[in-house]
C-alpha cells in the first residue's frame, strides 16, 4: 500500500514536472512576408515557457511586432505552425485566439468615441464589474478608478493615460499569454517612469506569461529571459543577467540595435 502511494506521488510529480517543462506557446518554422512581398519573418522557431516574463528586443524593422501580431492572429503566417498549450491554433482567427487565452496590448492604443473606460475594461473581462473590481484592475496601472471609469477612451486622454488603460484592458482578461508591443513607445518621461513601476509590480505578482517587446533597459532588467529578434529570426536568448552583459557591452542598450547584428552573427 505504502509503495503504491509512493509510486502514485512519483507519477504525479512526473506529470507536474512535465507540465512545468512544457512551453505555453510554440512557434514552428514561421514565415511572413509583407503584402508587397518583402520577407519579414524567416522560418522562425520559438518556445515561450509558462509563467515567465519574457522580453523580446532587437533592432527596429527586425520583426518583433510582426511576431507578436502573428501570435495574436492579427497577421496570418505564410507558413509554419503555432501551438498554444499544445493545441494547434494556426488556423484560428483573432477572436478565437483571444478566447483561447491570448491578449495583445497595442503599441498605439486605439481610441473610441463614446466608449468609457469602464465599458472597455468590462468588455475585456467579459462581464460587468463592480467599482471595487475596476479599482483593482486600474490601480495596478496606477490609475484611480473613480477618476477614470466614466471617462471616454477618446482623444481627451493623454498618451500615458491611454497606454495604461490599454495595459489594464489586457490585465483584465487574465489570459495565459499577454503580449505588450513596446509599452514605452509614445509616452513622456514622467509617464514612462511610472510605467516601469507597473511592470515591476506585475513581475512580483506574475500570473500567466508576459511577453513584452521593448528596447528599454529598465524593462529588459526585469525579464526572466531576453530574446533578441533581428532580421526575421531569433538571434539570441538567455537570462536577463547573461543577455544584459552582452547587450551592455555594445555601447549600452541604444547601441544594441545598431550593433547587434554584427555582434550576434
Amino acid at each position: 500500500m505504502f509503495s503504491l502511494n509512493r509510486m502514485k506521488e512519483r507519477i504525479i510529480r512526473c506529470i507536474i514536472k512535465e507540465k512545468d517543462d512544457e512551453s505555453v506557446l510554440k512557434l514552428e518554422n514561421i514565415s511572413w512576408d509583407t503584402p508587397a512581398g518583402t520577407e519579414v519573418l524567416k522560418n522562425l522557431d520559438l518556445e515561450i515557457p509558462e509563467g515567465k516574463l519574457i522580453v523580446i528586443t532587437g533592432p527596429n524593422g527586425g520583426g518583433k511586432t510582426t511576431l507578436a501580431k502573428i501570435i495574436a492572429g492579427i497577421y496570418t503566417q505564410k507558413s509554419g505552425r503555432i501551438l498554444l498549450n499544445g493545441e494547434d491554433i494556426s488556423a484560428l482567427d483573432i477572436t478565437q485566439r483571444a478566447a483561447k487565452g491570448i491578449s495583445f496590448a497595442f503599441q498605439q492604443p486605439v481610441r473610441f468615441k463614446g466608449i468609457t473606460v469602464r465599458k472597455l475594461i468590462e468588455l475585456a473581462s467579459g462581464s460587468t464589474m463592480k467599482e471595487h473590481e475596476l479599482c483593482d484592475i486600474l490601480s495596478k496601472v496606477g490609475l484611480c478608478a473613480r477618476e477614470y471609469i466614466n471617462r471616454e477612451v477618446d482623444s481627451t486622454l493623454s498618451g500615458g493615460e491611454i497606454k495604461r488603460i490599454e495595459i489594464a484592458s489586457v490585465l483584465a482578461r487574465h489570459t495565459d499569454i499577454s503580449l505588450f508591443d513596446e509599452p514605452e513607445a509614445g509616452i513622456d518621461l514622467w509617464s514612462f517612469s511610472n510605467l516601469i513601476n507597473v511592470f515591476q509590480d506585475m513581475r512580483k505578482d506574475l500570473k500567466g506569461t508576459l511577453v513584452i517587446i521593448s528596447h528599454q533597459e529598465r524593462i529588459l532588467e526585469i525579464a526572466d529571459e531576453i530574446i533578441v529578434v533581428a532580421d526575421g529570426s531569433i538571434k539570441a536568448r538567455g537570462t536577463a543577467d547573461e543577455m544584459m552583459k552582452i547587450l551592455m557591452n555594445s555601447n549600452g542598450i541604444s547601441g544594441v540595435c545598431s550593433k547587434q547584428e554584427e555582434l550576434l552573427k
Partner: protein
Amino acid sequence: MKKITEDLLREISEWNGEFKGAYNIREDGACVGRISSKNIKIESKKDKPGLEIYVAPGTVGETVSIPACVTHGDVDDLVYNDFFIGENADVIVVAGCGIHTETGEPARHNGIHRFFLAKNSKVKYLEKHIGTGHGTGLRSIDPVTEAELEEGSILEMDTAQIGGVDRTLRSTKAKVGKGARLLIRERILTEKEQTAQTEFEVELNGKDSGVDLISRSVARDNSRQGYHSVIIGNAPCTGHSECDAIISENGKVDAAPELHAHDNDAALIHEAAIGKIAGEQILKLRTLGLTEEEAEATIIDGFLS
C-alpha cells in the same frame, strides 16, 4: 391610453406607469392625460393644436414631460408647443415622440416647439424619437425647434433618433443673447432606405454668447443623411460645431457646415469627420474576444450613446 402608447412612452421618456411632475400625453393628435403643477402650467392653445407651457420664475429641479405618440397609419399629426421659461428657473423638459404603424399607410408627427428662455434660466431639453411596427407605411418625424435665449440663459438640447424612422427633416433655429449658451447634442442612426436631414441655424447676437453643437450620426445599409449647420457670430462670441459620422454598407452622409463671423471678436470652429469604422477599432475589440459583428455593434452603440 392604448397599450402601444404605453410601450412607446417607455422608450421615449422616463414613464413607468406615471410621470414625475407636470405632463401632457398626446396620442394620435388628442390629449389623453394632463397634469399641471404649482409652478408649471400646461394650457391648450386657443388658435391651433398644441400647448402653452409656463414655467414660473425661480422654479428649480422640476420636470415637465410632453410626449407625443402616433399608434397607427393614416395619421398626420401637427402640433405647436410653446415653452415660456421664467427668470432663474432650472427645469427639465422631456418631449419624445414615438410613431407606430402596422399597415401600409403612412404615419407622421410634426412637432413645432418654441422655447423662450428668460434671463438666467436654464433648460435641459430631452428629445428622443423612435419608430416601431412592421407595416410598410412610412414613419416620418419632422421636428422644428426654435429658441430665443435671453441674457445669461442656458439651453441644453439632447436629442436622439436611433432607428425606425423612415423620413426625418429636423430644423433647429436659435437666437442667443448676451452671455447665454446653447448646447446641442444630436445622435441619429439611419438604416435600410431611411433618410434624415438635419438643419441648424444659430445666431450668436449677444456679447459672450456661445454655442456648442455636436452631431453624431451613423448611416447604414442604403440610408442617407444630410447635415447642414449655420453659425452666425454677430457679436464677440464663441461657436463650435462638430459633425462626426460613421458610414457602413452603402450609407451616405452629406455634411455642409457654415460659419459666418460678422464681428471681429467672433471665434468660430467647425470639425467634421466622416468615414467607416476604423479597422483598428475592430481589431482591438476582437483581441478582447469579440467577433467582428459584436465589435461593430459595440463601436456604434458607444458612438451614439
